[in-house]
């Protein structure tokens, strides 16, 4: 029991590279900017007052407590601002805040603005939003509350960092544990469906017109392939917390989860979703993995260099 408690304490106190948080900030803001550029040609169809779903329909159906674009228009009614202008204003603020977040200029404020603008846009366009918006919202919330401007930012150049080490560790652990809960939940929910045990889930997903990108009809003749893919998905997701927390399995698990999301991006056409999940996993776990691997390499090099110099000394060369 004492050992468990000590391990938990060690987990939350052990220093982690502060670059992890900086990488997270840059990855998320860069992703959100790219997403915006990709969606921009159809932006008004998603968020405009006369879009696919008009504001008067989408906003009352929203379950969120975030203010919507319609609310902003009501607030600015005394300025006689048109509905389209409200969309341009919120979008413009979103772009500027993401650029600010990317370069780490007034990071906390920019994180707050990016999170708020994203929330406003999706309170109106929630009927068109899917998993990618859920994770962008979560990531932007972390960019707002965590010290993500600690390094690789303009803010960190101008002043000496007073952020204690424990806060960096806690912040990184928070993101990691959120991912762990999410994947565990995904794994358990998939394991409850028969389609994930007989391989039909992968088969159906690849056959659906929405996701159909590559002809995978041959899979029907090799049912073991989709079955193995389904089982491995359940294992990778369901055992993600264990796989990522154990030092020995972390590298394998990270490669597995990245492969899974690459598969989703390529074969199901969910490019943005796949890219975001890859970035979240890399930013949460890769710097720690690199630190661990480099310390292993250093240890290995030190040992062998020591043996080599001793041998050389014995031979009397040095």
């Amino acid at each position: 029991m004492k050992r468990i408690a000590s391990n938990i304490r060690h987990f939350f106190i052990q220093p982690v590279p502060k670059e992890t948080l900086a990488f997270f900030r840059i990855a998320i803001s860069a992703f959100a900017l790219i997403q915006l550029v990709v969606l921009l040609p159809d932006w008004m169809w998603f968020y405009g007052p006369a879009g696919l779903i008009p504001w008067e329909v989408s906003e009352p159906l929203a379950k969120t407590h975030m203010p919507s674009l319609g609310n902003i228009q009501s607030i600015l009614s005394w300025l006689h601002v048109s509905a389209n202008s409200v969309v341009y204003f919120v979008t413009g603020t979103y772009v500027l805040s993401l650029v600010g977040l990317l370069i780490g200029y007034k990071t906390r404020l920019m994180g707050f603005l990016a999170w708020l603008m994203h929330g406003i846009l999706n309170a109106t366009g929630h009927l068109t939003a899917y998993g990618v918006e859920t994770f962008t919202h979560i990531a932007l919330f972390y960019c707002m509350v965590l010290p993500v401007g600690i390094c690789w930012s303009i803010d960190s150049r101008n002043k000496i960092s007073r952020i204690p080490g424990y806060l960096v560790t806690l912040s990184v652990r928070l993101i990691q544990l959120h991912l762990c809960i999410m994947y565990l939940s995904c794994g358990v929910e998939k394991a409850m469906g028969t389609q994930w045990w007989n391989g039909e889930a992968i088969w159906i997903a690849l056959q659906q017109d929405q996701f159909h990108t590559v002809n995978m009809n041959w899979l029907a003749n090799f049912p073991l392939v989709p079955k193995l893919l389904c089982w491995s998905t359940i294992i990778i997701e369901g055992l993600y917390p264990m796989g990522m927390m154990l030092k020995k399995t972390r590298k394998f698990w990270l490669i597995s989860i990245l492969s899974m999301h690459t598969f989703i991006a390529v074969f199901l056409g969910l490019h943005l979703f796949g890219a975001l999940m890859i970035l979240l996993n890399i930013s949460a776990f890769a710097p720690i993995l690199v630190q661990y691997e480099s310390s292993k390499i250093r240890g290995f090099a030190d040992t062998y260099l020591f043996r080599f110099t001793r041998l050389v000394k014995i031979d009397g060369i040095l």
Binding site: L39, M66, L127, A129, F141, H178, C186, T194, Q208
Partner: protein
């Protein structure tokens, strides 16, 4: 441990607890429960009130909408909503998913019809027809069955009147 540090740890634990509770469908435990409602409201802001059931427990039939537009000259055109990116179709398909909910069917159909009328100024009538893709299982596919689109429902809309007929 200083008080400030303790507070940060407490907030982090509370946040993760909420993430875990909502991921475990705690929102369904008591829909009218005040505490769960309040936690859900907080979770809207923090992103801790999500259910992570992507493609789980299984995949349902995929809905799609066919737009049959009749213009002022009486000619019918079948159109498809096409955007500039792959993500556009993912998002539009998300809307179509709501058409499977009977209560949402009318309002979503009307919204889509209004959008099509705005995009096609010559349109006089629009028929919103929902079809569903039925995919055979792997053994059925091996026996020669192929995926097919099955008609589900349609709604007709006219430019002058929001709703002409309901079938």
């Amino acid at each position: 441990m200083p008080l400030k540090q303790k507070l940060y740890y407490a907030l982090a634990i509370l946040h993760l607890l909420m993430v875990a509770l909502f991921a475990a469908h705690s929102a369904d435990w008591g829909r009218n429960n005040r505490i769960i409602k309040s936690l859900g409201a907080v979770g809207n802001f923090t992103g801790s009130n999500n259910i992570f059931s992507f493609f789980a427990p299984g995949l349902a039939d995929q809905p799609f909408v066919v737009y049959d537009v009749k213009d002022t000259t009486g000619i019918n055109h079948v159109i498809d909503l096409e955007g500039s990116s792959r993500d556009f179709s993912n998002r539009v398909n998300n809307i179509y998913g709501y058409l499977t909910i009977p209560e949402a069917r009318m309002i979503i159909s009307a919204s889509l019809a209004k959008f099509v009328m705005n995009e096609c100024p010559s349109a006089e009538k629009v028929r919103i027809a929902m079809v569903v893709q039925k995919i055979p299982t792997m053994p059925e596919f091996r026996k020669g069955e192929r995926s097919k689109w099955v008609f589900w429902f349609h709604r007709d809309f006219e430019r002058s009147l929001p709703l002409a007929s309901v079938h």
